[in-house]
Amino acid sequence: MASRTFRIWRGEQDGDGQFAEYTTDITEGMVVLDAVHQIQAESAGDLAVRWNCKAGKCGSCSAEVNGNPRLMCMTRMSDLPEDLPVTIEPMRTFPLLKDLVTDVSWNFEVKKRIRKFKPRAPDAEDGTWRMDQRDVDRVQEFRKCIECFLCQDVCHVLRDSHKHDEFVGPRFFVHAAALEMHPLDTEDRLEELKEAQGVGYCNITKCCTKVCPEHITITDNAIIPLKERVVDRFYDPVRNLFRIIGGR
């Protein structure tokens, strides 16, 4: 059994935070979240950490481990360098509540602003629809999202430029794409994506795609197609010509 050192961010909402050092024993197969729980039980009963499923399915235990945005429950201790302390910090893009827990409520507010699913009339008399598996594959990729908000955490438009009021972030472009590309959906979200939701701010650095624990190809499959749809609608020269002639 090897003993390892952890540097864990401790701090409350309005106070100054700092790293505190803890040491705990690591056994085979342990993940970072196990170590945090062990430290909690041994020496830091009030260490705040958010978690639920411990199996990478709920997206609650997002944090920055050795500077990398990760789910703590899916980060194995054996994958981290053994000769260095393990550093665990909260997600830096969201306001701190306490220790490793951040206030992610902004994400829940943003989602409400995206128009909900609006299906076409049912295809069959019994009120059901027909869809081909091939036509739902790409939507199913987006619907794997577990809302861990790690993509929001690394997006520089939010993290560095703080455009929270003008830009909804990769998570919600994935959400919008899942709706826009849903074979049954009839709603139109393009104008809002362009204006209020700021899809244009994304400059395709693909940081979000790199950190997605569900391996959703956020930039290529969700954001770029949305950008293309916006461009087709609003910046297409032929369409613009018609618009000018038509006086619209």
Binding site: T27, G45, A48, R50, G56, F117, I146
Partner: protein, 607 residues
């Protein structure tokens, strides 16, 4: 004291809570939804296999009658027949409704919702999305619900219901962020808090599942039934130690996965219960054909009910034929002998299992066998409710989903949980809204104030004891001791002596827990939260141990090594737990409600 006012308060935001909130809101009343976690993180998100509903998309012979009969057989005929009937009849509409709200299920070749085989279900019945059906379901309900004007109280925990004038009038709780207290005034309350898994060491449940709804209802004067029936899912991960208990979906077996012992033998063929002899495959080849959709073939023994499969696994381990880390082998990789493109097939059908084993255990399930063993997964027991309205015997107090009892009898079939949440979540929401409309609550009374004061005192006590110094015990330590003793003495194979000793231990821990003290302040303090969950965990543990010690037979998930057979008298008996006039727990035997004649006939036809 902050006060929130709603017509209907829903406690718990998993599948049942969300569905109840949606229905109540659609009925035009104001709705508050309280959740211990963030929205969309409840245990429903982990459900893998699917939603059982007789849509008959894959096999046209399926209908609600067969689903009803399968549910009753799985539950060993002690289910609430009204609930089993409504569940089977209404599940298909509830699934179709999810599609109308944006859910994207896997498709059949003729573009309908695809259904898969599961243990105890006669026909392929589980509507699913790969092995992440729960995520699809909770996200669909969440994304639909957020546009309905429901007030969501995220990261709030209710510690007490407020009862006045013979009815429920609200609840008291704290928020995790700052430890603020709040009174939730409401004319009706729906409990949808899920299970009790945290009472055990090896569990697929997260920290939230501490029997809150069970305990809240009990303390408010409602009754609990069937508490002796605790489901062990046969296949949880066993290695590495830190992931012990995490679920491995039954879908692995539905897709052709087989169980083998250390001698390479498919031991499930060795012991097939009489109830299932006629419907189980005669040899491995027939079993394989069944998993691949051959309608003439009978199902492989790996798809027998969960209680039975779990016990067979325990037998293999006990008799020395287990895997290196104390489980047995679950092998899906073998299908490469049958399918050309098996690796891609497995990854498509079981993506999150592939992911989970790859990342947590370093095992590639497309080429290696998994090691699995039983894990506490679900409690069949719960609040005794009216089968149609889901109201308990406390007026205005409703319960739905895992924290309600009755639907599943002595053993739940896989897939019947998600459908339970939808069918009875909707019913609870509908009837709670109706109750609230007909019975608005009056102003706050003196009794209400006293209850709030008492709840405040109780909530602060563990923090205040830290200043008192002395012999305070930590909340984590008590919880951990409880988990070990429940696992060892009130577990999968039970005996009178162990159950009685287990009960004594629980009661002793209960005494010690009165002295629990925690460090830190009220802001996001998990030690404090754990302390406040303890009374609930201890209460449900006591109920499970007491009921299990009383039921001297083996039935469904309740297996007694000192009474291994089923007993006819016990088969007609339900155990009802309630708080006695002296404040102590009492248990009464009550007659099981027999199905009405038409339903009995359906059962006979499907025997």
């Amino acid at each position: 004291m902050q006060v929130a006012e709603h017509d209907v308060l829903v406690i718990g935001a998993g599948g049942a809570g969300l569905r109840a909130a949606i229905e109540a809101s659609a009925a035009g009343v104001s709705v508050g939804l309280v959740t211990k976690s963030l929205l969309g993180k409840a245990h429903t998100v982990m459900a893998e296999g699917g939603i059982a509903a007789a849509l008959a998309n894959v096999d046209g012979r399926d209908d609600w009658r067969t689903h009803f009969a399968d549910t009753m057989r799985g539950g060993q005929y002690v289910n609430n027949p009204t609930m089993a009937e409504l569940h089977a009849r209404e599940a298909p509409d509830r699934v179709r409704e999810l599609e109308a709200w944006g859910a994207v299920f896997d498709r059949t070749n003729d573009q309908k919702i695809l259904q898969r085989n599961f243990g105890g279900h006669k026909y392929p019945r589980l509507a699913h999305v790969g092995d992440r059906t729960g995520l699809e379901m909770i996200r669909t309900l969440q994304d639909h619900g957020i546009h309905l004007g429901i007030d969501v109280h995220m990261e709030w925990t209710v510690t007490r219901l407020i009862v006045d004038g013979g009815r429920v009038v609200g609840a008291f709780g704290y928020d995790r962020e700052k430890g603020r207290f709040q009174v939730f005034r409401a004319a009706a309350v729906v409990l949808a808090t899920g299970g009790i898994g945290r009472a055990y060491r090896v569990t697929s449940n997260s920290w939230e599942y501490t029997g809150d709804g069970h305990a809240l209802a009990y303390e408010a004067g409602a009754e609990l039934i069937d508490m002796e029936y605790v489901q062990f899912h046969p296949t949880g991960m066993v290695w590495p130690p830190s992931v012990r208990g995490i679920l491995v979906t039954e879908g692995v077996r539905g897709e052709g996965g087989v169980l083998r012992n250390s001698e390479g033998q498919r031991f499930m063929f060795d012991d097939i219960p009489d109830l299932y002899k006629g419907s189980t495959a005669g040899d491995p080849e027939e079993g394989w054909r069944y998993t691949q959709g051959d309608k003439e073939a009978r199902r492989p023994p790996e798809l027998l009910t969960r209680d039975h499969v779990a016990r067979c696994i325990v037998r293999e381990i006990k008799e020395g034929r287990g895997s290196p880390h104390g489980g047995v082998f679950l092998d899906i990789a073998w299908i490469k002998e049958k399918l050309k493109d098996s690796e891609a097939h497995i990854r498509r059908k079981l993506p999150s299992m592939y992911h989970q084993f790859k990342e947590l255990a370093g095992i590639d399930i497309t080429s290696e066998a998994m090691e699995v063993g039983p894990t506490i997964h679900y409690v069949m027991g719960g609040v005794k409710v009216d089968g149609e309205t889901q109201m308990s015997r406390v007026p205005g107090l409703f319960a739905a989903g895992e924290c309600a009892g009755g639907l599943h009898g002595a053993n739940r079939l896989g897939g019947n949980s998600l459908s339970d949440l939808l069918v009875f979540g909707k019913r609870a929401g509908e009837h709670a809204a109706r109750f609230a409309g007909a019975n608005p609550r009056g102003g706050a009374s003196g009794s209400e104030d006293e209850q709030v004061e008492a709840a405040t005192r109780d909530a602060l006590a563990p923090l205040e004891r830290q200043d008192g110094g002395g012999d305070g015990v930590g909340s984590y330590a008590i919880q951990s001791e409880l988990q070990d003793l429940m696992q060892a003495k009130v577990g999968i194979v039970r005996s009178q002596a162990e159950l009685e000793s287990g009960l004594e231990d629980v009661l002793a821990l209960k005494e010690r827990s009165r002295n629990v003290s925690v460090a830190g302040n009220r802001a996001y303090n998990p030690g404090w939260h754990t302390a406040l969950d303890l009374p609930n965990l201890l209460l449900v543990s006591e109920a499970v141990a007491r009921a299990a010690a009383l039921r001297k037979e083996s039935r469904g998930a309740h297996f007694r090594e000192d009474h291994t057979a089923k007993d006819e008298r016990w088969g007609r008996t339900t155990l009802v737990v309630r708080k006695g006039a002296d404040g102590e727990m009492e248990i009464e035997e009550e007659a099981v409600t027999p199905p009405r004649e038409e339903l009995q006939q359906i059962i006979e036809e499907n025997r």
